[in-house]
Amino acid sequence: MSNVIVQPSSTRPRKYNVIGTRPVRHDGVDKVTGKAIYAADLSLPNMAQGAYLRSPHAHARIISIDTSQAEAMPGVLAVATSADLPDPWDKTEELGEGCINYAHLSGNVLARKKALYRGHAVAAVAATDIHTAQQAARQIKVEYEVLPAVTWVLDAMEEDAPLLHDNLFTQTLGEKPTKPSNIGQHIHFEQGDIEQGFAEADVVIEREYRTETVHQGYIEPHASVALWNEDGRLKIWTATQGSFTVRQQLAELLKIPVSKITVVPCEIGGGFGGKIAVYEPPVAAVLSRKCGRPVKLAMRRDEVFEGTGPTPGSFMRVKMGATKEGRLTAAKAWLAYDAGAFPGGMIGPGSMCVFSCYDIPNATVDGYDVVLNKPKTQAYRAPGATQAALATETVIDEIAVELGIDPVDFRLQNAAKEGTRRVDGPTYPRIGLVETLQALKESEHWNSPLEGPNRGRGVACGFWFNAGLKSSAAANVNDDGTVTLVEGSPDIGGTRTSLAMQLAETLGIAAEEVHPQVVDTDSVGYTDVTGGSRVTFSTGLAAHKAALDIQDQMIKRAAELWECQPDDIQVDAGTYGYNDHKQTFKELAVELSSTGEAIVGRAAVNPQGSTNAFSANIVDVEVDPETGKVKILRFTTAQDAGKAIHPSYVEGQMQGGSVQGIGWALNEEYFYDDRGAMKNASFLDYRMPTSYDVPMIETIIVEVPNPDHPFGVRGVGEVSIVPPPAAITNAIHQATGLRMHHLPISPPRLHQAIAERNGQ
């Protein structure tokens, strides 16, 4: 039982020819032969190389920057500081995926008056080669006034904490504060009567949690090549999740119109939310303008850790109550998440997700977005939900144990379903949490015994919204009856193929007869980021509609050819028929290509709902009591995919997210010294899972079709990371009797807890 697909009897599965099959991905050969071009692979004629100078201090006022020595070095072509960026407007904009304040973004790209975290970019150099650029960067003299730094979220909330921004007033729907603080936002939700709810409970559990800062850990460091031409046109080749989003950010940061900018998305070596906000593109652009040459600016790994967005560390307090019969009556959460150096972290979704798996009549949630002297946090796969799920799902587990109810049954009994009102207000449409838990319960894994000392089994579930947003596609029918699909979603994990398959299914042709192309911002309509698990859903919808557009045109043209009315023509699985005429898509396309204008399908969509994904895990662990090391023995993840277009890549998302969750649970964390310097900015010391650390990840794809998509697709990319830390924490409890409340549960941390418990 390794990878299975479950179609619950409550759903009526449709028959497909292409969807649900597993073709080889279209860009696969390029990627296994080393030919695929990632941003750092690019080399343009006369290209200069860039390097950064970064702040050695976690919090410091920048008194002066002297670039003269660096500029005088042979081979140095240009030096840039924040003085080269236009004064930013204090404007916050929705960028498809969360909002960005341009004053903050500009200040993050190159520090203005203050360096707000160690690794904050202060200046950059372009030179004839990378070594000269790096050497020159070190010749830039910066005078700092070092300020006290704060790196722990609760410390940063104190009245007398060092203030990062003297103009930051807490955003709240309540009354506006009159004094600045480090609290960027306060979110508050209420549902029902919380006092009453806890009064009805027979069991009430309240726990506090702490999680450390973790990084998305994509293997490709950020890289861009910029060419700012004398005609004022700027072209950027970059590693991004959203080429149009980069274009928008550049236009705002550089104060030039979007029409002057072309962004070419290169192949991208992972992002997970970390390659949406820009870092190096505007800096490379400014350097290019100053030296009149194309400039490549690529980060080193330590710069990626220290200078790009990790995802928040957190402090959380969660209290839940249930009756003897196992009915949840009340829940209360108090969450404080790091935002990093600028406000706008992941507290919104964290607050909305904390209780989103359950039907809870009475609840309150308070969420705080807190700035401190760490890099500005960014999204990381279901941003904010994983921390929150750790708290909720381990409290749920404790209640189930206390009540003597099976943990899966307890979750099933309280699971959110169609019509359940979430604590933040809206009710759910048709969702698949119950079916997902049911599939888990019926799995071979759940029904096989786990024996042996120091071993334990844990379960947990998780929720993520997923996004819709804007996508565009064009599809050109070629002379030979194949179709070229032109789209704008950078392909991080095989989406060219999942889109081509939806187009192929609609037209009744094979996936291999579609040639999907991800193109630049001048060559396709606006398309939001590859993020929010939206590409297969939303760009897939665009591909489907472009195919329908083609089909309409084919029908009209066939009607002319066959001298009948368009309505007379029957289309069935790609075969067009009228009386004795019967032609496949391909035959008809070939014929039409010589009898008139080209057939070009197009579509632009903007679906607005969230596609509501749920995931649930079973994990078996073995704890070594001598060292505190946790070994994952077996891991199963079940997820509602709506409809799996390419099951292998759905499994891949489930497995990848699970292993990231395992890393988050057991090893990954930023270590800071007392001056706010990260002590482990390398892959050696920031310990991500290797192949040797994990077992096979068994998957159960559950298909409860999404009513808002023609094939029933739900986003599948993100939710898989949400349950693992909680499931592992619950398994560790079963193995050791210890409830751990601090992620990661690294060997030293668990070893110490075991020693303390044993009275050592």
């Binding site: 508050h188 919104g348 819709g468």
Partner: protein
């Protein structure tokens, strides 16, 4: 009549009312009517004439930030934090 759910922190302006029923065809109109009944509420929800960038509205499961977004006679309207995704 559409049902508008008033976020708890705004209920100081609605005299504790958690739900308000009103006649409106767009999100913009919802906010205008709320403002007419509960002065000051628009200031908390909007920056200039747009929904504050930290917020989004949910109208019958559809998330939107458009003031033009359609509100039907049976719609449920919620004001929620804006979210991103990875």
């Amino acid at each position: 009549m559409a049902t508008i759910f008033i976020p708890a922190p705004l209920q100081d302006l609605t005299g504790g009312l958690a739900e308000v029923e009103l006649e409106a065809v767009s999100l913009g109109e919802v906010i205008a009517r709320l403002e007419a009944r509960f002065p000051g509420i628009k200031d908390r929800l909007c920056d200039d004439d747009q929904l504050s960038p930290a917020l989004q509205a949910s109208i019958n499961h559809v998330m939107t930030r458009q003031m033009r977004a359609e509100v039907g006679p049976d719609s449920e309207v919620h004001f929620l934090p804006a979210i991103g995704g990875g």
